[in-house]
Amino acid sequence: MTKLQSYVKETITYKAIYMLLHYLHDFLETFGNISFRFCQVLKYLFSFQINFKQLLEQSSRFAVDSLPITLSIVSMTAIILAMQIAPEMVKQGGKDYIGLLVALTMVREIGVIMSGFAIISMIGSSQASELATMRVTEQIDAMNVLKVSPFQYLFLPRVLAGFIMMPFVVVISSTVGILTGGLTAMFAAKDVTWLCYITSVWQGLYIRDINIMLFKSACFGACISLISSSCGYDASGGAKGVGIATTKAVVWSFVAIVIIDCIFAAAFYV
């Protein structure tokens, strides 16, 4: 290495560009891997090679295990929302629109995105660490040697479970959110009655919004499972590798569902 080369390598600009390229490489590699595995999942899905035992197990984990935390987060968000808007709306003479506002925000945004965040922290991280542990303990290698595809046995049931069960989780949590929002509004502001709130909720619910919510949540579920499984699958190097893979899965899932949310908003509400 010449003196000039070693000097250039010591400069901050070189280091910054090197780091940027490193992150870009890492991003493209992860994105490529996720896309490839998505194609593999579709291949096994359309050739109907579904392991129903695994699908049932993963669906149960996805929906049942995540429900308490999802309900808590969405309900608390609805309570906070109702506490802040109910007194103000009454002051402005809009008490008949409190239910409408809560229902709209729940169905269009809060219910889905908050459930998504809860599912990432609860299920996504567990899926990533599970697959990462399987990777570093050579269980995935063993599966390959036994000529069983990890994409068919591990990925497909998880992605399908996410796609099927996420809408159920979101419907339940959004419903509970709207109801707790109503109870909170009654306590937070005078003159708001249950009947008035529920009537207002009905005015704010549209079939189109509900359909979009269901489709969006299904996409979120599949996306969380795919990213989490993929990041776990790429783990290497023992306990530290499992930790890195889990963190990566959580970060990528968070960013991905926000981007998908943006795409849905632009496609359906602009």
């Binding site: 392991n51 303990t137 036994l146």
Partner: protein, 242 residues
């Protein structure tokens, strides 16, 4: 069915882990591969069973089924022993629907009996000792009646008695399944008791090939250093050797 490897080369991070390696294993033979840690022994096994692809070289193992016994057993920890052993029978495309549940239970019981374990079908891997896990791993490997069995340090982490038991089962499996086997090991007892042929790797090359008796003759500086477990000799001890 025999294994033929010709001019096998594998590079990791610009370092030639395997450099033009060639060897053959005749049908029913057991070949031991020895060498320092990081000398590419496990890489050979991973290439042979399809987990890694070589950068160059020819590997001829015909259409035979390859099974592998992993260093740390690699049992599926969410499945019990029955499901672990029957995993390929339940999930592999060519076996799906071939056997009834009762037949699978019988095959698993037979495999467990071969490795001296009976009545542990309902136990999970974490409930078993290291030696038992290794034996379950052996049972899982032979359940599909493979033509080739690859052992990656089968006695690693076991006490001498448990190691002897595993060695006995390697010999027994050779007799019963007639499989061609490759054993990666550091243990002298495994080399002398189980193998028909031995090759020794160092720095990506084969530095010795012969029988276990030849290895003990100590007329090769590399084997001399290996057998006497000496730090002095032609093989340089580096950080990756540990």
């Amino acid at each position: 069915m025999a294994i033929k490897v010709q001019n096998l080369t594998k590079v990791f991070d610009n370092k030639k882990v395997l450099d033009n390696i060639s060897f053959t294993v005749e049908e029913g033979e057991i070949l031991s591969i020895v060498g320092f840690s990081g000398s590419g022994k496990s890489t050979i096994l991973k290439i042979l069973c399809g987990l890694l692809s070589p950068d160059s070289g020819i590997i001829d193992i015909g259409n035979g089924d390859v099974a592998m016994v992993f260093q740390y057993s690699a049992l599926f920890d969410s499945l019990n022993v029955l499901d672990n052993i029957s995993f390929a029978l339940n999930e592999r495309k060519e076996f799906k629907g071939k056997y009834t549940k009762a037949e699978i239970k019988e095959i698993v019981a037979r495999s467990l009996k071969t490795v001296g374990l009976e009545g542990i079908e309902d136990k999970f891997p974490h409930e078993l000792s290291g030696g038992m896990q290794k034996r379950v791993s052996l049972a899982r490997a032979i359940v599909t009646k493979p033509q080739f069995i690859l052992y990656d340090e089968p006695t690693a982490g076991l006490d001498p008695v448990a190691s002897t038991v595993i060695e006995d089962y390697i010999l027994r499996l050779r007799t019963e399944t007639k499989a061609t086997s490759i054993v990666v090991t550091h243990q002298m007892s495994t080399i002398t008791r189980c193998s028909d042929k031995v090759i020794m790797l160092y720095d990506g090359h084969i530095v010795f090939r012969g029988t276990p008796a030849d290895l003990l003759k100590q007329d090769n500086p590399y084997t001399q250093q290996f057998v006497s477990a000496s730090t002095e000799g032609p093989m340089k001890i580096t950080a990756s050797s540990f």
